[in-house]
Amino acid sequence: MYSEKVMDHFQHPRNVGEIENASGVGTVGNAKCGDIMRMYLDIDDNGVIQDCKFKTFGCGAAVATSSMATELVKGKTIQQALEVTNKAVMEALDGLPPVKVHCSLLAEEAIHAALWDYAEKHHIKIEGLSKPKNDISEGEEEDEY
């Protein structure tokens, strides 16, 4: 069901854990399935993400996308991190089954939530970042039979 990359990131998730006194922490829940992801960011004075860790209560895809997302944002600037969309995460994982596309949104939203927390703590405004929703759910329609 899952690609080899997904299985690899599931079996050996990168950057699991917490960051003490993180620059930003974001927790998001997925209304569609009830799963939850938390992202910790350590951002230096130049606005570069030095470290990133996550915790996830979710399916295999949720764990793998969290892991991949942390890899993708590490070492990036805030602006670059904003470009790590769910599509980018999915591509990096060689794709997800259709029913699991929503899981990758969790990762994107968690990054945004952590950045929002950082911005609030530091009283700055990040271009292109809007207040994250507590619960994400997307408009993908199930066929009605």
């Binding site: 599931f10 699991v16 917490e18 399935c33 799963d35 939850i36 996830t56 209560f57 399916c59 295999g60």
Partner: protein, 397 residues
């Protein structure tokens, strides 16, 4: 190949080798259509009626009351839709439970769209139907009560005899989905006042794609699959003779070995339940502690999500399930676990392990060890667990 410990026997079972052996001649040698006049067709007809009698015997019924179908889902659809059609002049109300299989629930929803009214009776925290609510739900227009014999997720066995008596007292038809119970627990349709009963071959080491509906003689019921005159004109379609023969042999086998097999399964199941509850914290058992299917254990592990757990178990060669396999297309937590009162996030972390006669104590020991480390690992990754630990620590200060 890695050793596999298959603990998903409620989803489907291995077809027993003697069942396959019995089926084989009916593919390539006695392949005649049972509805024909020549000798080759008679072979098929005789084999089919032998299977019918074996099944009838197992239920205390008569051969002519057994109608073969393609499986449990078709039997459930048939029982409900065709009874509704046949008895709609008498009334339009049906009673069922909140924890039925989707083959019943979605059929009920469909019937509601056709103008029928359905009451979904509650269950208690062990998954046992509330009999007083069931009684209160009865109306003069009630034509059918359908309550499953045993639940496929949490294994709870329902008070079928009591329900049958209530139905009988009120002159209401009683159907039971016995897909999980047939071959696992003794069933007598007369003692329990069962008018219709669904079962499916692949749950008792028989083949997939075959099942039956028991219909008590005298019950008016229409066809569900219309067409040829097979199954006494009640179920059309060329008879699946190999499947029917396989189901017959599987039934014979399940009934003959039931006592010994389930005694062993109950012992192992209880060993599994006791150790897991003792050795893994923040864990609960779902379903009734004793009144449950011999091979069923169902746990909820707090702070943990089911799919991740299943994938990790699979890596260790352990096949289990989270919620019902048939509903894995859905992301919603199991309606059964919600009905017994679990909150969403706990329902998410459920694990169903269903044993077979092949499972040993060593297997169970292996599973428990693996499970312990998987749960620990997943909890260490879980933001919910983090919050919980933080809060407890906060409380200790």
């Amino acid at each position: 190949m890695k050793k596999i410990i298959y603990l998903d026997n409620a989803a489907t079972t291995k077809t027993a080798p003697e069942v396959v052996d019995a089926m084989l001649p009916y593919f390539t040698e006695f392949y005649g259509n049972a509805s024909t006049i020549y000798d080759l067709g008679n072979h098929s007809k005789n084999a089919m009626n032998e299977a019918r009698d074996i099944i009838a015997d197992a239920l205390g019924a008569r051969g002519e009351e057994i109608y073969f179908t393609a499986g449990g889902s078709e039997s459930d659809n048939w029982a409900l839709k065709a009874t509704a059609e046949a008895y709609k002049s008498k009334g339009n109300h049906i009673i069922t439970s909140k924890i039925e299989h989707h083959a019943i629930l979605h059929t009920c929803e469909w019937l509601e769209k056709q103008g029928f009214e359905v009451t979904y009776v509650d269950v208690d925290e062990n998954g046992v139907i509330k009999l007083n609510e069931l009684k209160k739900a009865i109306r003069p227009t009630t034509i059918l009560i359908s309550v499953m014999f045993a639940n496929n997720e949490i294994g709870t066995i329902q008070p079928i005899k009591e329900i049958g008596e209530i139905a009988k007292e009120h002159g209401i038809l009683f159907h039971t989905d016995a897909v999980q119970a047939f071959g696992q627990v003794p069933i007598n349709v007369d003692e329990c006042h069962i008018d219709m009963l669904s079962a499916s071959g692949h749950k008792l080491n028989g083949p997939k794609g075959i099942g039956f509906l028991y219909i008590r003689k005298g019950v008016k019921i229409r066809s569900f699959v219309h067409g040829g005159a097979q199954e006494r004109k009640r179920r059309a379609g060329t008879e699946n003779i190999p499947g029917i023969v396989g189901l017959g042999v599987a039934t014979k086998r399940a009934i003959a070995s039931m006592q010994e097999r389930t005694a062993k399964e109950i012992e192992l199941r209880d060993y599994l339940i006791d150790r897991v509850l003792k050795e893994i914290p923040y864990t609960r058992l779902n379903g009734h502690r004793t009144n449950r299917l011999p091979n069923n254990a169902n746990f909820s592990f707090q702070f943990i999500e089911g799919e991740s757990m299943l994938i990790m178990l699979d890596m260790d060669g352990i096949c289990g399930s989270s919620g019902s396999a048939c509903t894995s297309g859905s992301l919603d937590p199991s309606h059964v676990l919600l009905a017994i009162g679990l909150p969403h996030e706990i329902a998410h972390g459920s694990l169903r392990l269903t044993l077979s006669e092949e499972i040993t104590k060593e297997d169970i020991d292996f599973v428990i060890e693996k499970l312990k480390s998987i749960i620990e690992r997943l909890r260490s990754m879980s933001p919910l667990y983090e919050d919980f630990v933080r809060k407890s620590k906060g409380g200790e200060k």
